[in-house]
Amino acid sequence: MTELQNKKILIVDDEPQLLRLVSDILYRRGYYNLFTAGDAAAALALAREQKPALFLLDVNLPDADGFALLEELREFSRAPAIFLTARGEGPDRVRGLGLGAEDYIVKPFLAEELALRVEGLLRRVYAPKPERRFFALSAAAVDLDSAAVIREGREVSLTAKEYILLKKLWENKNRVVTNDALCLAAWGEDYYGFENTLMVHIRRLRKKIEADPSRPEHLLTVKGLGYRLVVRDE
């Protein structure tokens, strides 16, 4: 984590107070290598000099728009970028233009949203080795890294589909994951008609991770919608 927090971040916004706000939010979360610029020219100069690891760009700048700035930045930097947009239609435009921004945040945003996006993006780009994906349930422990369930000291391996389903559920732990999302993860775009197969896989998963598969405590059915993996805070 500290390694990620040491990454250089360039924040570009024409509103000085917002610039300070964003810096403060990130600074308070341990990001100390922050650079700020109020316009595209200053941003380009700073980027050449400091070679930041992440760009946070406002779409509206006095001397250029953020999309144009990113294009220029891309000429010498492959660092990921997040757009800050104040437009209602911003997300569509950012998505539609496909200008190489990795993410976007619509103003106004909560500090936590911003921090999560920055952390997530840094992690995705610079820390390909994720943290250990291991979690304990009441009757068993799951080690997603080795696709195995450790139960009463014995290791039971997960099948490929079980692994995909459990991983998807764990990534959205304590939230409902719809049948559609699970089928999409396991069988791809053409998942239509796999609902029954999904039920079979869920049943097998329960046998592996639940104390009493007929009365599940962790892998719960949400009737008509999908499933929820209940995991207590580690």
Binding site: G88, E89, L110, T178, G224
Partner: protein, 437 residues
């Protein structure tokens, strides 16, 4: 619309033809009226009168009745003259049976004559040469029997002819009428109207053209105003977003400040919460504004309804674990062409409405099925329903940010060519149909 022109054209032609036929009948009767010769007393009547006098033996009286230029002759059964008045020299005084037969109907030495019998005798009354034309008209009884039929046939033929002529000469009028109707149609549809401003209809066409021009200019002005308003809304909301970011950021910062008293932290949290509400309002405002002025969803793609319904319901369940909607999705494959995020927004609004407006909790049921060429989605809750005026004003822009959920869902569904019904019936019952792909 051209049907109307055709109708007018036919009615016009028919009227013209009927008028022509009516005129014919009137003329027929007038001919009869004019044709009857009533110039003075008729020679035939005079001949009769003279005969009466002679029968009474009043020869003097009879002679007095004969006009100067006419003559009268009385012959006996043997053909010899008994008495005469003004008898011209070229009129014989003895007649054979053949002479009598010839003269009774026609002429006597070119004198038009009228006869009358008195017992064995014959009165011949002559008028000046070339004063009268005499024609013999003979018809069989059959002819008389068939006369009504003939008249009817003639009248019908006349009518047909008149109609044909009216149609032929009316064709030009029909063209004009059609152009006029097309013009009116275009005017009604607020399209461009460009009719030739010449000829009989020139002025009418000119009037139509300028009316259409007026409407299109007005529409352009309205559209410009709408666009301006829409742009204004998005510009304002754009301008609000940055200061709102600061408010939210700073209040969050305050709430996290350890130096602050718990009470003040709570206040800071309140500011953040209110700022979040403003953010939601701005988003709704933008969406409503774009739906208002730009009714076509811009990004159309096939949307499967069932995954969308499940995903939206799951989202709400995640936000509110007590929420337990009952889903009855009967047609898993139903798909519509639409803007997925907008449709999701509509469903979210409706479910969220039921959730928020019934804080005590209520049963919420989502049913989906296919009926004909439409996918039907029913969202029913067992809650307290909504005020009737909210149901009546679904199509109107809400006057405040409150209660935008229903009108927004209504707009989204309508923008997708669907129907939206909402009623209170032991809770709020909503029925949406969307055209299937």
């Amino acid at each position: 619309m051209n049907k109307t022109a055709l109708k007018i054209f036919f009615l016009f032609s028919l009227t013209a033809a009927l008028l022509a036929t009516f005129l014919l009948v009137v003329n027929f009767m007038s001919v009869g009226f004019i044709g009857s010769d009533r110039s003075g007393s008729s020679p035939k009547a005079l001949a009769n009168l003279i005969g009466d006098q002679l029968e009474d033996g009043d020869y003097g009286g009879a002679a007095a009745l004969v006009p100067e230029d006419c003559w009268c002759l009385l012959i006996d059964g043997g053909g010899d003259a008994l008495w005469s008045v003004n008898l011209p020299a070229d009129v014989p005084t003895h007649y054979s049976l053949g002479d009598v037969a010839r003269l009774t109907r026609w002429y006597l030495n070119d004198y038009p004559v009228y006869v009358r019998t008195i017992d064995e005798k014959l009165v011949i009354y002559g008028t000046p040469k070339n004063s009268v034309g005499k024609y013999d008209i003979i018809y069989s009884m059959k002819w008389f029997e068939r006369l009504p039929q003939r008249i009817l046939t003639v009248l019908l033929l006349n009518l047909a002819l008149a109609l044909t002529l009216a149609l032929i000469f009316g064709a030009g009028l029909y063209d004009k009428l059609r152009a006029l109707m097309d013009g009116l149609e275009n005017l009604k549809a607020q399209r461009e109207v460009n009719l030739p401003e010449r000829g009989l209809f020139g002025e009418i066409f000119g009037g139509l053209n300028s009316a259409a021009g007026l409407i299109s200019r007005k529409n352009a002005a309205l559209a410009a105003r709408d666009t301006a308003r829409s742009n204004w809304v998005s510009a304002i909301s754009h301008d609000i977003r940055t200061p709102l970011s600061l408010i939210m950021g700073v209040s969050e910062e305050l709430a996290a400040d350890p130096a602050l008293s718990p009470e003040n932290k709570k206040k800071a949290g309140l500011i953040t919460g209110q700022a979040l509400k403003i953010r939601k309002l701005i988003e709704d405002l933008n969406l409503i504004s774009s739906l208002e002025y730009d009714m076509q969803p811009s990004r159309l793609a096939p949307v499967k309804l069932c995954p969308l319904l499940r995903r939206t319901a799951a989202e709400l369940v995640n936000g509110c674990p007590d929420f337990a909607p009952e889903l009855d999705l009967r047609n898993e494959g139903a798909a519509v062409m639409g803007d997925e995020s907008l449709l999701e927004r509509a469903v979210f609004n409706l479910l969220n409405n039921s959730l928020v407006h019934n804080p005590a909790g209520c049963a919420i049921r989502v049913t989906e099925y296919v009926s004909g060429r439409s996918a039907v989605v029913e969202i029913a809750d067992g809650g307290s329903g909504v005020p009737p005026e909210a149901l009546e004003n679904l199509d109107k822009m809400p006057r405040s940010g409150h209660g935008m959920g229903l009108p927004m869902a209504w707009r989204i569904v309508r923008a997708h060519g669907g129907t939206f019904e909402a009623r209170n019936d032991g809770g709020l019952k909503i029925r949406i149909t969307l055209p299937l792909m």
